[in-house]
Structures are given as structure tokens and as C-alpha cells.
């Protein structure tokens, strides 16, 4: 393959060019309730070329090899147009040249498991919630994504890396009277098929929570002190803080850039945040990013002080900061952009009981249900929660969305738990999807969050 890719790049007149060819294998099985609605394994492939010419950087995605010359020409023309219309030429931070082939160590390669076995496992899990009378439907899927990537650039780097992601998950829906509630269930990761086995208790537990939600009270809108669990803390870290650690999001965003300066005091002293794609076994693991840079851990916040950010080669040069290896694409249809790998709040020293005690009166919210950010403002949903009275769990609540301001919230984090957990499935959208976006955190206590009920 590298020979063909080299032939394509040999036609370039640019000072730098790279090409990524990917074969994307997908296996998907979906149940809606008892009904199997999709099953199949497919493979597709395509190319992305990027060129840096006269200080203009442009990319093109294409699917047919015969379009390669035309694509390269288009990318070069676009790069020239960028260069003519830009005051500041794009530069790339220097990186080592690598020649490497990397496949992750897997506990059971999903390619060696028959689709019948995958179907049987999924059906077994799907039957668990459906055995309860009040569960009216499920939307449960098995998803297997195998990216075989070939990356080559004009500096001499040649990398073949495979990323293998398996997950089982979906939505369980129950109804009582006119009230419909649902809950998400998920499991999976980057370590092979075996992580999906023996997950019956997960489906049992989620179903029980769902049935309790049918009896829960609606959250009442207002301002509350809240304790959020690991999954929500992870989503908060990802949505509210993490995205503004992505240099491409703040590069041409003067007011955010002014606030996100290295050394700025943003959070309380107990807050430490790191992004590390190199943690073996976590969902967000990879060795090289999609511009051939070796991934490395980045300490983003140290004792509340902003200490690093995530970069591509372009932004590392523009910010005059170190390269980090965080430029990742969804697949062959996209040029890479800056993404988080495994972002997490480092654990503190508080136990859950101590945190509930110090919360006193407020809300204990658990598990994320979607999140979004816009500048300083973030909103995300919680799957369920409890009213806390005098440090004790009282009634369960449902239909909870929380909203806040990043900077105020970082300063309102008053305790960090000792119980770090990473998520097993991801799905961050930023123009393209990142199914391996992984976040983690311990329980954290936040003062004065806006909670929107209904």
C-alpha cells in the first residue's frame, strides 16, 4: 500500500504533503425491542490528502484511487488560495520521522468471533430488560469499528496503525400510564471482544434504575449544590473544559484565548486535569495520531492553574507550544482535527460518604445523558439523581439538565473524590464523530449549579 501512496504524493509540488488511506470495517447489529432490525459486516475505504503549500494548508477526502491526481491538484489550488488570502502563513511544528506498524494487543480479536456469536450475546443482553413488563422497547446495538490506517508524509514518516473498537449499548424505554422514561446502557472499549462478555448485571442494574425512574419526581428548576458521579464529572471535564483545551477551538477566538492562557488560575487548588491517549486499555488509546505524531500525555490543569493544551502540528507552531499528538480524524472521509484522547480529573482524597456529608442539602446526580458546550457555557443531562437531605439520599428525581459557566463552575468545585472511573464508550461530535473519545473522573462536589427541570 505504501508504494501506491508514495506514487500519489510524488506528484506534489508542495513543501509538505501527507496522505492517509483507510480501510474501515464495520459490524453492526441492532435490536428494536425483540425485533432484529439490522445485522451485517461491511468494508469501505478512502483517502485523505493534506498539502501545505506557500503557507496555506488544505485537505481533500476522496474515495476512488483514479481521482487521486485531481484531488491532489484541487488541494494544492485551495492551499494557494489560502496562502494568498492569509496574513499569517501556516507552519508545522517539527516532529520525529517514524516508520512503524502497530496493532494493539487484544483480548479476543472481534474479527475472529463469528457474527452468530455476536448476535447471540446481544440477544441475551437485550432479553434482560425486555423480561420486565413495564419495559416497552429497547434500542440495543453491537458496534464494531476496525480502522486500518496507512499514513505517509513527504518527511518520510510511514505508519500503519489499527484501531479496533467494540461496544454494546443503547437505550431501554419503559412506560407507566402516559409517562415514558428511558435510560442508556453501554459497555465496550479498545481491548477486544472479551470486554463485552459477562455484562448481564449491567443490563439488570440499568433496568432496575429505569423502573425506579417511573416513580421518581420531576426535577425542579433552580440553583443547587450538587454532587456529580464519575460519569458526569468526566462529561463535565470533556464538555466544559476539555474542548477549550483544544487549540483549534480557541486559536481564532480572541476572548477565549485571552482567558485560556497557560498560567491562568482557572479552578480551585484541588483540581488536576490530564489528557493521556497512551493509557493502555482505555477507550481513547492510540499510539500515533492522524498526522503521524506520537501521542503523549498532557497535564492540562495543575492545582487549578492552566498548564497545557492539546495540539496539532499547525497549532503547536502557531501557539509556540509543544506538540502533543492529538490530531485525529473520524475516518477516511475527514481531515484530522484536534481531539481529546483520555481526559480525566485526577482523583483526590475524599470518600463518597464524606462528600455526601459535606453536601448536606442538595442534589446527587448520576450518569450523563448528552452534553454540549458553547464558549463558557455548557449544558448536559443527567440520567437520574437523588434529592439529598442532611447528607442522606431522599427521593429519586428524573428529567435533569444542568447548565453553567465554565469558569465559575471550575472555581465552585469544592471537593474531589478518590474514586476515578473512565468511560467505556464515547461519541464526541465536533463536525465529525469520535467514537473513542474517553473521559473519566471521580465524584466531585460543585456549588451553585443551574438545574433545569421541566
Amino acid at each position: 500500500m505504501f508504494y501506491q501512496l508514495k506514487q500519489i504524493l510524488s506528484q506534489t509540488t508542495a513543501q509538505y504533503a501527507d496522505i492517509r488511506y483507510e480501510i474501515l470495517g464495520e459490524t453492526r447489529i441492532v435490536f428494536n425491542g425483540k425485533e432484529l432490525i439490522h445485522i451485517g459486516t461491511n468494508s469501505s475505504d478512502g483517502f485523505v490528502i493534506r498539502v501545505l503549500k506557500n503557507g496555506g494548508l488544505s485537505s481533500i477526502a476522496f474515495t476512488k484511487l483514479k481521482d487521486a491526481s485531481k484531488a491532489l491538484k484541487t488541494a494544492e489550488q485551495n492551499a494557494c488560495l489560502l496562502s494568498i488570502n492569509s496574513k499569517k502563513p501556516v507552519e508545522f511544528a517539527k516532529t520525529e520521522v517514524y516508520k512503524d506498524s502497530f496493532s494493539p494487543v487484544l483480548k479476543e480479536d472481534p474479527r475472529n468471533i463469528t457474527i452468530d456469536e455476536k448476535l447471540d450475546l446481544l440477544r441475551k443482553y437485550n432479553d434482560i430488560p425486555l423480561s420486565y413488563e413495564k419495559v416497552i422497547t429497547t434500542n440495543i446495538f453491537y458496534n464494531e469499528v476496525i480502522r486500518e490506517k496507512f499514513f505517509l508524509n513527504t518527511e518520510g514518516t510511514e505508519i500503519k496503525e489499527d484501531l479496533i473498537t467494540t461496544s454494546i449499548g443503547g437505550l431501554i424505554t419503559a412506560k407507566e400510564g402516559s409517562l415514558i422514561q428511558n435510560i442508556r446502557v453501554s459497555g465496550g472499549g479498545s481491548t477486544g471482544f472479551s470486554i463485552l462478555r459477562n455484562r448481564e448485571s449491567e443490563f439488570e442494574n440499568r433496568t432496575k434504575i429505569l423502573l425506579e425512574l417511573l416513580k421518581a419526581e420531576q426535577a425542579k428548576g433552580g440553583i443547587y449544590n450538587v454532587l456529580i458521579n464519575q460519569d458526569l464529572a468526566g462529561v463535565f471535564t470533556h464538555e466544559a473544559f476539555g474542548h477549550f483545551s483544544e487549540a483549534d477551538l480557541i486559536e481564532d477566538f480572541p476572548s477565549m484565548r485571552e482567558k485560556m492562557q497557560i498560567g491562568a488560575v482557572l479552578g480551585t487548588e484541588i483540581l488536576n486535569i490530564t489528557d493521556d491517549p497512551t493509557i493502555p486499555g482505555q477507550l481513547g488509546f492510540y499510539k500515533y495520531d492522524d498526522e503521524g505524531v506520537l501521542a503523549r500525555p498532557v497535564k492540562l490543569m495543575k492545582n487549578g492553574i492552566l498548564s497545557g493544551r492539546l495540539h496539532s502540528r499547525r497549532t503547536a507552531a502557531a501557539f509556540k507550544e509543544n506538540i502533543t499528538g492529538h490530531c485525529v480524524a473520524e475516518d477516511y472521509r475527514y481531515a484530522p482535527i484536534i481531539r481529546m484522547g483520555n481526559i480525566f480529573i485526577e482523583p483526590g482524597d475524599k470518600k463518597l460518604d464524606e462528600m455526601l456529608d459535606s453536601l448536606g442539602n442538595g442534589l446527587y446526580l448520576l450518569d450523563a445523558k448528552g452534553g454540549q458546550t458553547s464558549g463558557e457555557n455548557f449544558t448536559f443531562g443527567a440520567q437520574y439523581g437523588y434529592i439529598i437531605k442532611d447528607g442522606k439520599k431522599a427521593k429519586m428525581i428524573r428529567d435533569i439538565n444542568i447548565s453553567g459557566n465554565l469558569y465559575q463552575t471550575l472555581k465552585n468545585i469544592s471537593a474531589v473524590g478518590n474514586d476515578l472511573v473512565f468511560c467505556e464508550t464515547g461519541g464526541c461530535g465536533k463536525g465529525q464523530l469520535n467514537i473513542r473519545s474517553c473521559h473519566g473522573g471521580p465524584h466531585i462536589l460543585i456549588k451553585e449549579l443551574v438545574v433545569g427541570g421541566v
Partner: protein, 429 residues
């Protein structure tokens, strides 16, 4: 494509081949500076087969091996996905004008120049961070099946989005212009953005409570998402639609009428047939507040013993068709946008929504961060509020319509006007 059908037929299958091919160029400016020009030339092909009432599916980007694609589809039959429907025979469709040859003359240079012109014009009126993207796309689809259907369409589209960003947040006021070919952004477009942004730039404080709220065409999708979910045959089949058994019932305000409007070829994306070859047609979802129709694809139509409404669309060649409302049209009312604002004593314009995808969507609940929350007092835009959320349920909110704007705009939610609602719960920190 024909060869694929023949191979599938030889293996005893009924079959459908769907082919999509297109290219796009997108130019983006951030903070009034040219940031990116990206292009795509993508194609793909997918195959559905039905054998012994079971449905198989496969897709690929490069049709290097036709037998392999058919074999992948045959393998997927083994799972046992039901396929009791027939691929339709669709012929003699109305010819829609979906392609403007002028699109081929739009150079990336022209897109850059238009974005630059907009930034310069706006900066002469107001100082702010401006992000602009301009995109041109040409896409052709072809669909054939063993029932004898042979359909194709070529579509062109041009879209430009201008965002004026509020300082210290990426909350922005934005508006889209879209057409089948290049449309120069005019004064009305620019003035809507600069005037409303200018008047709302100041940060103001307000109290929580129930108040009047305008959802712009750009943010109405928050409510329409819930309605689309409820009106989908998929939700009906799964017994999770609050609209089940309510056809003919007045569910919403009588000022609210929503059509499935795929045949309007004055705007980009019109379709005479859906992605499974069923004829598309215009029909009301809600008419003067009365719920009129669910929408169906072939699969759910068969399950529910009715006919497809021509709403089977695919997210891409790698997904099977599913029921989708791609062509929403909300019928405009008789008040101008400034009339809507003038009738607010105290209220908010939802300029952007955060977290529209979270919450209990089948139930109709929404709970969104408003970003920006543009504050209106005594008929005038006076500023914006930080940390505001709007929460409610569409079966209440859509019964509380004060007025509907007299003009529609194309946005990702469809072809919609602004709508002024009464008594929406707003929580402000």
C-alpha cells in the same frame, strides 16, 4: 449497478441498488480571517436484498468486487431481519428543478470573496468576532430495483452561514442563506444580524420565571425534534409516541401548521422520490393544531399495515433507510419579526440552544441552555443574559403560541419562521 441487480437476482433475491456520488467545497472564516478550504469527492453504493421475506444489506465505497458486495448482503440475511415489504415500482414522477448549472461556475475564490465581503461589511457597522462558512455541494443519486424502478436525481446547493459571536463565549447569533446556486447576501440578511447582535451585546440581569420566548428558525429544531420523534412511524410502532391514536385531534395551537414539503424545488434538496424509490408527496403533519399524519418508510409501513409516505431516507450509503422528515415546512403567520419583538413586555429570544439532544425526547420534554439568551423588555432588545435555561414540554409549549412570523428561513430544522410562545419556563442564575 445493473450488474449487481442481475447477480442478486441469480441468487434468488429481489434487490435494490442505491448509488450516491458527489463533491463539495467548504470555505470557512474565523474571526474574519480565512481559516480553511476543504474539499470532498465521495461516492458509495449500497445494496438491499430480500429473500424468503428476510432483508439483507451491504455497502461499499469502491465497487471493486461486485460478487463480494452481494455476498455480504447474503451473509446478513442469516441474521433474520424481517423484510416483508416489496421494492416499489415507481415511474413517471414529476420533474423537479433540483440542479442549477450555475453551481459549476462558483469557484472557491468566489466563496472566499463573498465571505470576505460579508466580514468587511459587518465590521463597518459593528465590531465583533465574525465566523462565516460558505459551502457548495453537488450530489447525484441513482436508485434501481428488481421491480423495474429506475430513478435518478442531481442536486446542487449553496449555503452560507454567518455567526456573530458574543465575547467570552461561543454563543452566537447566526443565520443561513441557502439556494440551488450562489445567492449574494443582501442588506436584510446583514441587518438582521448586526441590529439584533448590537442591541443585545450588553450583559443584563433578569429573574427566572415564566415568560414570552421567541424561538428563531435556527432554534425551532429543539421543539421540532420532539415532534418529529413523536410523528415517526418508528415511535408509533415501538409504542412510545405520545401522538398514538390522536390523528384528527387538536393537540397544538391552531396557529401551528407543519407540512412535509419535499416537492418545493425553489429551495435546495427537493425530492420527487425518497431513498427507497417511493414517490415523495406534500402532506400535513399538523394542520391548524390538529395532528394529521405519521410519516412512514417501507419497513414500518409494512409493520403497521399501511403505505409508505415517501419518507425513507438514509443518513449515508452506509445506513439503511429509516423514517425521516427531511423537508419540514412550518406555515408562516402574519406578523413581522419586529412585531413579534414588540409584543414582548419581558422575554427572551433563543438565539442558540445547548443540549437539545438530551432530556426525555419521546416524552416531548426539552431542557436547553440558551446561548445566547437575548433579552427583550418593553418591545426592545436590551441585552443578553448569561446562564439561562428554558425548559418545558412541546405538548404544552406548542399550545401556547402567541404569533408566528410572516416569513420562513432555511435552517437545519427546515423551512421555518420564528415563533413567539407564551409562558415558557426560563431559569436564570
Amino acid at each position: 449497478m445493473e450488474e449487481l441487480l442481475q447477480i442478486a437476482q441469480k441468487k434468488g433475491c429481489k434487490a435494490e441498488v442505491f448509488f450516491s456520488e458527489g463533491y463539495s467545497d467548504i470555505v470557512s472564516f474565523e474571526d474574519s480571517k480565512l481559516k480553511n478550504i476543504d474539499s470532498k469527492i465521495l461516492s458509495g453504493i449500497s445494496l438491499r436484498i430480500i429473500k424468503d421475506n428476510k432483508l439483507g444489506f451491504a455497502y461499499t465505497r469502491n465497487l471493486l468486487n461486485k460478487e463480494e458486495l452481494v455476498n455480504n448482503a447474503l451473509k446478513s440475511l442469516k441474521g433474520g431481519v424481517d423484510g416483508f415489504f416489496e421494492f416499489p415500482l415507481t415511474q413517471n414522477l414529476k420533474n423537479l428543478d433540483t440542479y442549477s448549472p450555475d453551481i459549476e461556475d462558483i469557484s472557491n475564490n468566489l466563496l472566499v470573496e463573498e465571505c470576505k465581503r460579508l466580514c468587511d461589511t459587518i465590521l463597518q457597522k459593528i465590531s465583533c468576532q465574525i465566523n462565516v462558512t460558505a459551502q457548495k455541494t453537488v450530489n447525484s443519486l441513482r436508485l434501481i430495483n428488481t421491480s423495474g424502478t429506475e430513478l435518478s436525481v442531481i442536486s446542487s446547493s449553496y449555503a452560507l452561514t454567518t455567526e456573530l459571536v458574543y465575547p467570552y463565549s461561543s454563543a452566537s447569533l447566526y443565520r443561513v442563506i441557502a439556494g440551488k446556486s450562489f445567492i449574494k447576501a443582501g442588506d436584510e440578511y446583514i441587518n438582521f444580524l448586526t441590529e439584533n447582535y448590537g442591541h443585545s451585546l450588553k450583559e443584563v440581569k433578569a429573574n427566572s420565571g415564566r415568560m414570552k420566548v421567541i424561538f428563531l428558525p435556527e432554534t425551532l429544531y429543539v421543539l421540532m425534534w420532539r415532534l418529529q420523534t413523536a410523528a415517526s412511524s418508528n415511535s408509533l410502532y415501538q409504542n412510545i409516541s405520545p401522538l398514538a391514536g390522536r390523528i384528527g385531534e387538536k393537540v397544538f395551537d391552531e396557529k401551528f401548521t407543519v407540512f412535509n414539503d419535499p416537492l418545493n424545488d425553489s429551495i435546495p434538496g427537493a425530492r420527487a422520490f425518497d431513498d427507497e424509490g417511493v414517490q415523495c408527496r406534500q402532506f400535513p403533519i399538523v394542520e391548524k393544531g390538529i395532528f394529521r399524519n405519521f410519516y412512514y418508510d417501507l419497513y414500518f409501513a409494512e409493520r403497521l399495515k399501511t403505505d409508505s409516505t415517501g419518507n425513507g431516507f438514509r443518513a449515508s450509503v452506509s445506513s439503511k433507510p429509516s423514517p425521516a422528515l427531511r423537508h419540514i415546512y412550518i406555515v408562516p403567520g402574519d406578523k413581522s419579526f419586529s412585531d413579534l419583538i414588540q409584543s414582548i413586555d419581558k422575554g427572551i429570544i433563543v438565539g442558540g440552544a445547548l443540549g437539545a439532544h438530551s432530556g426525555n425526547i419521546p416524552n416531548g420534554d426539552f431542557s436547553i441552555g440558551i446561548s445566547p439568551a437575548i433579552y427583550v423588555e418593553n418591545g426592545n432588545v436590551v441585552g443578553h443574559i448569561k446562564d439561562a435555561m428554558a425548559a418545558g414540554n412541546i405538548y404544552e409549549t406548542l399550545t401556547n403560541i402567541i404569533d408566528v412570523e410572516n416569513k420562513t428561513y432555511i435552517s437545519h430544522g427546515g423551512n421555518c419562521p420564528s415563533i413567539l410562545f407564551n409562558e415558557v419556563n426560563v431559569i436564570i442564575k
